[in-house]
């Protein structure tokens, strides 16, 4: 019985997770090292990887800062009523339920060139939709809950007694945060950050809608994979996919590490 269940589980994991990753790696080297290198060295690939990297860095910094602060407010703030906190708390998760395509559509509807806001920005010389700002906003929207959801439970668990003690002893809010709160939440923040990086790197639907997928301008690594597949350029698609998959596996290892640290502290 036991053997059967273990065997079945290993089979499911192999078919669903392990073999596909190996297949991508094989596909990337279909035409040997040359094909892989050619796929990656194309100028559009380099530009797309650069765009993805830029978005990941900006989105991760912004959402980590705001995510940590919002979790502090939602758990600790006395200036928010309990009902308001509950309401905000249930709203935080909404991006999880929104299809990425719909997330992109929302931003086009609010900030597209035909809307009042979009026209206003356009006059000021800033394009939002079909340009980098829109892609960043879309990714911010999609990744917003990740840090908050990791940090909030820990803040609730550790309670506010230590922080109050620090404040009573005369520590400023800043000192209290860095000396008392931060050490207990930092591994959760790291975990949330890794999740945010993974999601921002892999975001496809929302970015595709908002960016218009313009070559050398708004194309990201994932939308280039999509376009290469549509153009039957499978080796190139595989090369980029392999780079992205390698990134994901690295992030997965980081996640494991952050998890083990989190359990220690």
């Amino acid at each position: 019985m036991r053997r059967l269940w273990i065997g079945l589980t290993v089979a499911v994991f192999s078919v669903l997770l392990i073999i596909p990753v190996i297949r991508i790696a094989m596909g990337a080297f279909d035409e040997g090292w040359g094909g892989f290198a050619r796929g990656l060295a194309r100028p559009e690939t380099l530009h797309a990887l650069y765009m993805t990297g830029l978005i990941v860095v900006i989105v991760t910094i912004v959402n980590t800062l705001f995510g940590v602060m919002l979790s502090l407010y939602l758990v600790r703030a006395t200036w928010l009523g309990n009902k308001v906190k509950q309401l905000l708390n249930s709203i935080v998760d909404l991006p999880f339920a929104v299809s990425p395509v719909i997330g992109g559509l929302m931003i086009v509807l609010l900030l597209g060139p035909e809307t009042a806001l979009g026209a206003l920005f356009n006059k000021a010389g800033i394009n939002i939709v079909y340009a980098l700002p829109g892609m960043i906003i879309a990714t911010l929207f999609v990744t917003f809950p990740l840090v908050v959801r990791e940090v909030m439970p820990v803040l609730q668990e550790i309670g506010s007694a230590q922080e109050e003690a620090a404040a009573t002893l005369g520590a400023s809010a800043w000192t209290t945060f860095w000396r008392v709160t931060w050490p207990s939440i930092r591994w959760c923040v790291v975990y949330g950050v890794v999740l945010t990086v993974a999601r921002a790197m892999g975001e496809f639907g929302a970015v595709l809608v908002v960016s218009g997928n313009i070559l050398f301008k708004t194309q990201t690594a994932t939308t280039l994979v999509y376009q290469d597949v549509e153009n039957f350029n499978l080796t190139a698609a595989n090369s980029i996919a392999l780079v992205l998959a390698a990134g994901s596996v690295t992030l997965l290892l980081l996640m494991e590490w952050a998890k083990s640290r989190r359990e220690v502290h």
Binding site: R2, W5, T9, V10, V12, F13, L16, P20, V21, R23, I24, F66, M69, L70, Y73, W79, S90, I91, V92, D93, L94, P95, F96, A97, S99, P100, V101, I102, L105, M106, L109, L110, I137, F141, F144, A173, L195, A198, R199, M201, G202, F204, G205, L208, V209, T222, T223, V225, Y226, V229, A237, N238, A241, A245, S248, V249, L251, L252, M255, E256
Partner: protein, 271 residues
Amino acid sequence: MSSMLQGRWWSWGFRSTVMLYFIVLIIFPIIGIYGQSFSSGWAAFADNITEPLAWKAVLLTVKLALIATVINMFIGTMSAWVLIRYRFPGRRLLNSLVDLPFALPTAVAGLMILLLLGPRSSVGGLAEKLGFTILFHQPAIVIAMVFVTFPFVIRAVQPLLEEMDSSEEEAAYTLGATKAATFWKVILPSMLPGILSGAMLAFSRGLAEFGAVVLVAGNIPGKTLIASVYIFGEIESDNAIGATAVSVLLLTFSFLILWTVNYVQMRRKNG
């Protein structure tokens, strides 16, 4: 005194910035899309929803997401059980692989399925010989959905299995219950809340999935066109009203699921 005032000013500034960010980023877009879809009145909204292709796409999405969820309930529960209860070489590796679908870009996932099941691959060729095709047909969509929602059930069941008090199980054995009876009467009921909440999250993610599906579905209207790809098509052809109508339908559905899961989890914590 002045430093206190400064401190207050600072914290007020922080509070308003964070709250403003939250409202502008999350709440505005959602209100915007609901407002937009009803901007031309109920009749136009109803027209767009009852458009046969839109309706078919939504129904197809619900059907396929349900199938994927049921599959995940089985393999997820089994995997969670094996990973927690049994010790075997490679267990830790499998346990960390569970999260791979969350870490992997969905477009890459779509490409993987495309390569593995395509007509030139061995699996695709075998299926072809047996008289059916997977790629660009409904099975491919189900496979894509199973892949991207794979971690949900496992991650929801694992903590419950870890917490489970083994004394209940032992009591059942002592009282002469068979292994099967113990499983159905003792173990399964305590896993059930996890299976259900994981399944609901998987279902809502399956409804929303785009990246993995768009590459493998073939997107034939009425046959393999799911709701999110339909919405994408409407955006591409500049029919914003049609896109928002289907979006609102899908969103409302997903929000209801999400809030049900949150409500159930909160009641479990408090009770």
